[in-house]
Structures are given as structure tokens and as C-alpha cells.
């Protein structure tokens, strides 16, 4: 795809680039774990200096990040389009809600694991269907999932709370921290620890043999099959992994908000996840971070803008949706590589600059 050809061009024009020496010698898993630890340290430090409101926002970025990262694995690395990833968040959120309400003795991490497992099962079903569909067919089927699934809550109002959804409180904070650490701060820690762990797994997978298999299937199914890759199994596995990420995101959202309601999982959610992925840059896990940040801050800015300009509620309610839509169109038409593409170009230019300087010396 386009990203690859630019990378190739950069490599050709830049002469023979030195292999990234800093990365040599350290196994990816160790490097990713260290990176995650560093990131967690930064975030924990950050939670102490910012106000509670920003702590909630920080946690929001976290759960969007893992949802978008899952979508990146599916679409960016494996070439399958999903317009229904909000449905997996829905499953994750409702699993956590039901467990907290009906099995209160379970610890929260077990709730989260079960939420991930439930989405994984749903992802297996969706993936098995998806493996036979491609392009527009898959897009249509996943869109139907996003439109249809939230309505199931109306079907079982006693269990799922109808259109009001379920409300609950998660008591996950250890007693020792109860007096000292405020809730939003603790929530941000829980969310980011989960997200970073999941990201380590994802980052490792995408760099492994499995990652190459994913990309081989994306780039050319026939050649991949000739090379002995089981296409269907690979596609299903990609779907399951990304559904698990979606489920985790939904579970974390439920944890953060203390509610699970069908109104939070409209098709717009699925489409904004897609918008975030496209904006961040489809082919890269870093893109997921930019996308998640954009998702949260577009919302925040449009709220600020509404207050500042005193826009009417009709405009204010629809502003984020309009922004996501415009972003999708502009990015695809003008910057198909997204933000991460820009970051990459900047880095290439900087390293080229450095090399020419060294040459002059």
C-alpha cells in the first residue's frame, strides 16, 4: 500500500540506511516491556500533577487507545475493514456490568478478563463470517453488527436494563489506598496498566512471525496461500485479537463510567474509532495513540468551542460528528498516511539532515 511504497522510496533515496543500532541486542519483548513501564511511570507521575477531571480524560484516552490499536491490527495489518467495533466494546462493557452486579465477589481484574473472553468469543463468530467476506461485504456486515447489537438491550430489559442501561460501582481500590488516592487517579492507573499490558502483547505479535503472516494475507492472499499460510485461520485470529481489544476497551469504559447503556454504543462510536485509526495512520500502532488522543480532544475542544461561541445545542450536539466526518474525508484525500505518516516523514528528514551534517564534518 501507499505507506510501504513511501518507506521504500525513502530507503532508496536515503542510500543505505544504517540498521537501527539502538534496537540491536534487546529482544522485542524486553524492549516493549521496558517502554511500557516507562510509559506507565510517566502516566502515574502525570496523574499526581493534573486535576481529577484531566485524570478521567487520561483514562479515556487509554481505553480508546486499546480499541483503536485492535482496529489497527485488523484493518492496518490484516486488511479487514470493521465498521462495527463499537459492538465489541458493547459486549465488554455489558459483561463487566453484569459481573459486577451479579457476581460481586469476583475481583475486577477477573471481570476484565472475562469481558475480554466474551468479546473474543463474539469475535470468533464474527471472524468466522468475516473470513468469507471481503471489502464492501465485510464493511456492510460489520455495520449491521454496530446498528443491530445495541437494540438487543430492549429485548431483555430485566437483564440488560433496556435503554437506560445498567449502573453500578466498581470497588477495585485496595483498602490501603482508600484514603490517600482519589478515585479518578486510581482509575487512570488501572486503565493504563491494562492498556499497556495489552499493547505489549500486540506490539510483540505484530513484530513476530504472526505479524508477517497478517501482512502477507493483507497484501496478496493467493501468494500467502501458496506460501503455506492458512488464510481463513489468520483472518479469524486477527478478528479475535481485535475483538478482545475492543472488549477490554468496553470493560474499562464501564469501569470508568460506572454505567453500560446502549446509547454509548451507537454506530457513531464504531465510525469514530475508524476515524481515529485513519487519522492516526492506518499501518502503525503509534497511529492508534494519536487517534485516541484526537478522539478525546476533538470532543473536548468542540465542547469548549460551544461554550466560547455560545452555539446552539443543535450545532453543539452534532459538532463532533461533523468533525470526525471531515477528518475522514480530508485525511483520505490529502494525507493518506495520517499523523504517524507525518511523524515518520519528519524523522526521516531529521536523520537525513543529521547524516548530511556528519558528511560535511
Amino acid at each position: 500500500m501507499a505507506g510501504k511504497s513511501t518507506a521504500l522510496r525513502d530507503r532508496l533515496t536515503a542510500g543505505t540506511p544504517a540498521p537501527p543500532a539502538t534496537r540491536a541486542g534487546m529482544p522485542p519483548l524486553v524492549r516493549h516491556l521496558l517502554l511500557a513501564l516507562a510509559a506507565l511511570a510517566v502516566i502515574v507521575a502525570l496523574t499526581f500533577v493534573v486535576d481529577p477531571f484531566t485524570n478521567v480524560r487520561l483514562a479515556t484516552v487509554g481505553y480508546y487507545l486499546i480499541a483503536v490499536a485492535g482496529l489497527t491490527l485488523l484493518t492496518g495489518f490484516n486488511g479487514q475493514v470493521s465498521l462495527g467495533h463499537g459492538a465489541f466494546m458493547f459486549i465488554g462493557a455489558y459483561t463487566v456490568a453484569l459481573l459486577v452486579l451479579h457476581v460481586p465477589s469476583l475481583p475486577f481484574w477477573a471481570d476484565l478478563l472475562l469481558a475480554a473472553a466474551a468479546s473474543g468469543v463474539a469475535g470468533t463468530l464474527a471472524g468466522a463470517a468475516a473470513a468469507r467476506l471481503h471489502g464492501p461485504y465485510l464493511a456492510g456486515a460489520t455495520l449491521a453488527l454496530a446498528v443491530g447489537l445495541p437494540a438487543v438491550t430492549q429485548r431483555f430489559p430485566e437483564l440488560l436494563g433496556g435503554s437506560n442501561g445498567l449502573a453500578f460501582t466498581v470497588n477495585s481500590r485496595p483498602a490501603a489506598l482508600a484514603g490517600t488516592i482519589p478515585t479518578p487517579q486510581w482509575q487512570a492507573w488501572v486503565v493504563w496498566t491494562t492498556v499497556l499490558l495489552a499493547l505489549v502483547v500486540l506490539a510483540n505479535l505484530t513484530r513476530s512471525r504472526f505479524g508477517r503472516t497478517l501482512r502477507a494475507v493483507r497484501d496478496d492472499e493467493v501468494s500467502a496461500e501458496l506460501a503455506g499460510i492458512h488464510i481463513g485461520r489468520t483472518k479469524i485470529l486477527a478478528f479475535v485479537l481485535s475483538a478482545v481489544c475492543g472488549g477490554l476497551a468496553g470493560g474499562l469504559q464501564a469501569f470508568l463510567l460506572g454505567t453500560a447503556a446502549p446509547g454509548s454504543f451507537t454506530p457513531v462510536l464504531s465510525l469514530s474509532l475508524l476515524a481515529a485509526m485513519v487519522l492516526g495512520g492506518i499501518g502503525s500502532m503509534w497511529g492508534a495513540l494519536w487517534g485516541a488522543l484526537a478522539l478525546v480532544y476533538f470532543q473536548a475542544w468542540s465542547e469548549d468551542l460551544t461554550h466560547a461561541l455560545e452555539l446552539g445545542t443543535d450545532i453543539a450536539n452534532n459538532l463532533p460528528l461533523a468533525v470526525y466526518g471531515v477528518v475522514l474525508i480530508v485525511v483520505v484525500l490529502a494525507f493518506p498516511q495520517g499523523i504517524q505518516g507525518g511523524v515518520r516523514a519528519l524523522r526521516t528528514r531529521l536523520s537525513r539532515l543529521r547524516r548530511t551534517e556528519e558528511g560535511h564534518r
Partner: protein, 283 residues
């Protein structure tokens, strides 16, 4: 109202609407291999314009005409401004751009006409088991489908449209203005989409009113083979009747999930749709 006959009749009327919107997807898919995810939004804006015209003038039929013309213009603009620059891009690009347009137009509709439901009139009396409005819907959709079939098969314009869609290089050499034909195809499709919007919307119009209809129309088009207008019309009626039974016997909340199940089942058994194969051979 839950009698078998009532459900069937109701299914025929809603199925006609799915057939119309499905038809608009198929016309575009045949010409450009793009699924226009913005189709419900183009129809939505057209229907809102009809709503405003109807409110201002009191004339349903003037509003009806305005919606069709507005639909055609919106379709042509979409092709020219958004889809044409994406030639030679990946399959994903038009999907994302049309989704972006869907979001923008839904938001714009909400900004101008609010997210609250507005009452939107039926063409004729809608009371009774098979009302005049139902009859009108079925007749208009069948008439439109037949008209499009005749246009494609028996007119010079139809021949050019088909040539531009299937063999653009050859068509260009023979003097067909391929670009213009693509624009005409989009305009035509979006006008049919606007028609579907007018027929699907009553009694209430709100920005997400066509989301479900779109999913069912897509199901109809996929069952029909995405390439086959006649199959899509049949698919539309089949989906309409099938979902009417689901709604009546199992519950209206399960209709979208049922549509998804039908979609997946059909594609798993016949990846090109139920009627997909014959057409590939004919053309």
C-alpha cells in the same frame, strides 16, 4: 395486526423501500465498484429538503420533485468531488470517504433541522391493511426498477452507461465520455436513493432514520448479488417480508440482528449473492 397476512403485506411495502435504496447502491456499484455508504445521508438531506419545501408551500408533490432533483445533484457532486480523486487507490479509501460524508451530512442535518423527530407526511392515506400509501410505494418502486432496466437495456444513454462501467478504456476509444457517464450514474442512483428516503421516512424524520433502512437495503443488494438490479429488487422484497415476520413473531428489536444473520448466511453459502452468478455471465 399480527396476522400472517398483515405481516406479509407490511413486509411487501417495507421491502419495496429496501429494494429502492438497494437499487441505488447497485447502480453505483456496477459503475464504480464502490459501495456508497453515504447513500442514506444523501437520501436524508434530500428528504429534509422535501420536508422544508412541504412545510413552506404545503405541496407534497413539489417537495417530492425537489427531493429527487436535490438527490441527483448531491450524487453528482459526491462523484465529482470525492470519489473521482480516489481512482487507483485501495479498496478501503472510498469506503472511508463515503463514511466520512455520511457522518458530515448526518451532522449537518442535525445542525439545521435538529436531532428531534419532525413529522413527515405520507403520499396518500396510510390507514388500513394495504393502504393507498403502501400501494403507491410498491408501484413507484416497481415502476422505477422497470424504468431503470429499460434505460440500461434499450437506450443509447443506457448503453453508454454500461460501456463506461464495464470496459472504460474501450468505451473511451469509441467516444463515450466515461467520466460524464460515471457522474450520470451517481446522479441517477442518488435520485433513486432520495425516492427511497421519501417513501421510507414517514411518519417521522430524524438524522438517523435511514440507518436501519440502509442496513436492510445493503442486505437486499448483497442477496441480489450487488451487480444485479433485478436480483436486488427481489432481494428487497424477500428481506422486507422476512424481517416483517421476525418483527411480528420474535420482536422488533431483533430485526437488525436478523438482517445481519441473513447477510452472513447468504454470503457464507453463496459469496456472490443468490442471483450474482447469472449476471456475471450475461455481461
Amino acid at each position: 395486526m399480527n396476522g400472517f397476512l398483515a405481516l406479509t403485506v407490511n413486509g411487501v411495502a417495507t421491502g419495496a423501500v429496501y429494494a429502492a435504496l438497494g437499487l441505488s447502491l447497485v447502480i453505483i456499484y456496477r459503475a464504480t465498484r464502490v459501495i456508497n455508504f453515504a447513500q442514506p445521508a444523501l437520501a436524508l438531506i434530500s428528504t429534509y429538503l422535501a420536508y422544508s419545501v412541504n412545510k413552506a408551500t404545503g405541496s407534497y408533490w413539489l417537495a417530492f420533485a425537489v427531493a429527487l432533483v436535490a438527490g441527483a445533484i448531491l450524487g453528482a457532486l459526491t462523484e465529482r468531488l470525492l470519489i473521482r480523486p480516489l481512482r487507483n487507490r485501495t479498496e478501503l479509501s472510498p469506503v472511508i470517504v463515503t463514511l466520512g460524508l455520511l457522518m458530515v451530512l448526518q451532522a449537518v442535518a442535525g445542525m439545521i433541522w435538529t436531532n428531534e423527530p419532525q413529522s413527515f407526511p405520507y403520499a396518500f392515506d396510510f390507514r388500513g391493511m394495504f393502504s393507498s400509501s403502501n400501494l403507491f410505494t410498491v408501484l413507484v418502486v416497481l415502476g422505477t426498477a422497470a424504468g431503470i432496466g429499460l434505460l440500461f437495456r434499450f437506450t443509447a444513454l443506457g448503453l453508454r452507461l454500461r460501456a463506461a462501467a464495464f470496459k472504460p478504456e474501450v468505451a473511451r476509444m469509441l467516444g463515450v465520455r466515461v467520466g460524464l457517464m460515471l457522474t450520470v450514474g451517481w446522479a441517477l442512483a442518488a435520485a433513486v436513493g432520495a425516492l427511497a428516503g421519501l417513501l421510507a421516512t414517514p411518519p417521522f424524520l430524524f438524522p438517523t432514520v435511514l440507518d436501519g433502512v440502509f442496513v436492510y437495503a445493503l442486505t437486499a443488494a448483497v442477496i441480489g448479488g450487488l451487480d444485479n438490479p433485478a436480483g436486488t429488487v427481489l432481494g428487497g422484497f424477500a428481506v422486507g417480508i422476512g424481517l416483517s415476520y421476525v418483527s411480528g413473531y420474535l420482536g422488533p428489536e431483533l430485526v437488525t440482528v436478523a438482517a445481519l444473520a441473513i447477510l452472513v448466511l447468504v454470503l457464507a453459502l453463496r459469496p456472490n449473492g443468490l442471483f450474482g452468478h447469472a449476471v456475471a455471465r450475461r455481461v
